[in-house]
Symmetry: C2
Subunit: 220 residues, 2 copies
């Protein structure tokens, strides 16, 4: 089971590392971080660098593709080489997946046309503009296309996928191995649950970033 996680400048780290931590524990799994060029790739805030072990040209035919998101114009950050590679990889993959605004990249590659998909709650309309049918759910399966909501949702997506790929017992063993028994201190992880002023705070930050033409918005 070969898993390719596609990274690019300004991706959000947890979008990628959540699924990596789960999928790398599948029996026989091999996970490769891949980018347009081999070498160091910086995350959205510039505070963390991961290494892409392979260039896109060096990695063909993965069984599972994972596309993390990031802030701002992720389609431009990913670049046309990633879109071309995703179209080719999707022709033979068993599963093509995204986390957060990674689904905007899949959509820009033409892979989500008319399909149900999700993304970060602040970006659902951007997903619609790219031809997908946005769904405000945490994990969305449409055939072999699988998308997760914002950032941390990649863990839930990967566990769900692990069960499809290797069965429930394996997925539960992975969950217990990473002790994923979440106990967030607040029930504020969704716009339907967070205090209204917190939702508005993030919406206003997003508006300010868009008005300023900046990409340093709410990240991810």
């Amino acid at each position: 089971m070969n898993v390719a996680i596609v990274v690019y400048e300004r991706f959000t780290a947890l979008d990628a590392v959540g699924p990596y931590e789960v999928l790398s524990r599948l029996p026989g799994a091999s996970v490769t971080f891949v980018a347009a060029q081999r070498g160091p790739v910086r995350t959205d805030n510039g505070m963390l660098t991961l290494v892409a072990e392979r260039s896109l040209a060096e990695l063909a035919g993965p069984d599972i593709v994972v596309v993390p998101g990031g802030p701002g114009d992720v389609v431009a950050h990913a670049g046309p080489a990633v879109l071309d590679w995703l179209r080719a990889a999707d022709e033979t993959s068993a599963w093509t997946t995204s986390v957060c605004t990674g689904s905007l990249i899949l959509a820009a590659a033409g892979l989500l046309r008319g399909r149900r998909a999700t993304t970060h709650w602040l970006s659902l309309e951007r997903l619609r503009a790219l031809g997908a049918e946005p769904v405000a759910e945490r994990v969305v399966f449409d055939g072999k296309l699988v998308s997760a909501a914002g950032v941390s949702a990649g863990i839930d997506m990967a566990l769900t996928l692990a069960a499809r790929v290797a069965g429930e017992t394996v997925a539960q063993a992975i969950q217990l191995g990473i002790e994923y028994d979440p106990q967030p201190p607040f029930d504020a992880g969704s716009p339907r649950k967070a205090p209204a002023e917190v939702v508005e705070l993030l919406r206003s930050r997003r508006r300010s970033a868009e008005q300023a033409g900046e990409t340093a918005d709410t990240r991810g």
Copy 2:
């Protein structure tokens, strides 16, 4: 607010990246990955490389220290230079924290003597052997020493810490920003909840790894 995340060969990626993703969003936060030597550091399975931007010698006086865990003998993997640095950093830190078996490293540095702390559920007795009072809770505060249970618990720890450092509204905005509204597909993330055969599977893997003198156990 300077946050130092201490990495070493064979650390578990999500232990570090969960808290990073939360704490990097604190207003004015600067997060630095630090290791005995600057440069690339491989995670436990050899499939991911992160870059330590600073050596321990180059980074003094962080406000928050985060120590991730890993499989096997994490104290040996971390090495004596990390233990020395942690003792010094703890003298001036506002918070000294660990995720998963990272608490074994804090304990080996002498920082958890007689203190309440937690770790991965499979390692609670190892924590006791190092002089701490193990507690099977997800996030444990004992003064400024804060520990999280296995791997994914670092996200809950960091959100709890974010609220202490910057207030509940900031912590909730971070939670909503990373859309942390967990919906695991199974309720199998704790040995008290997982099916007995899944718990026994992980225990037997751990025993086999220990008998073989291997460190490639359940990771984390």
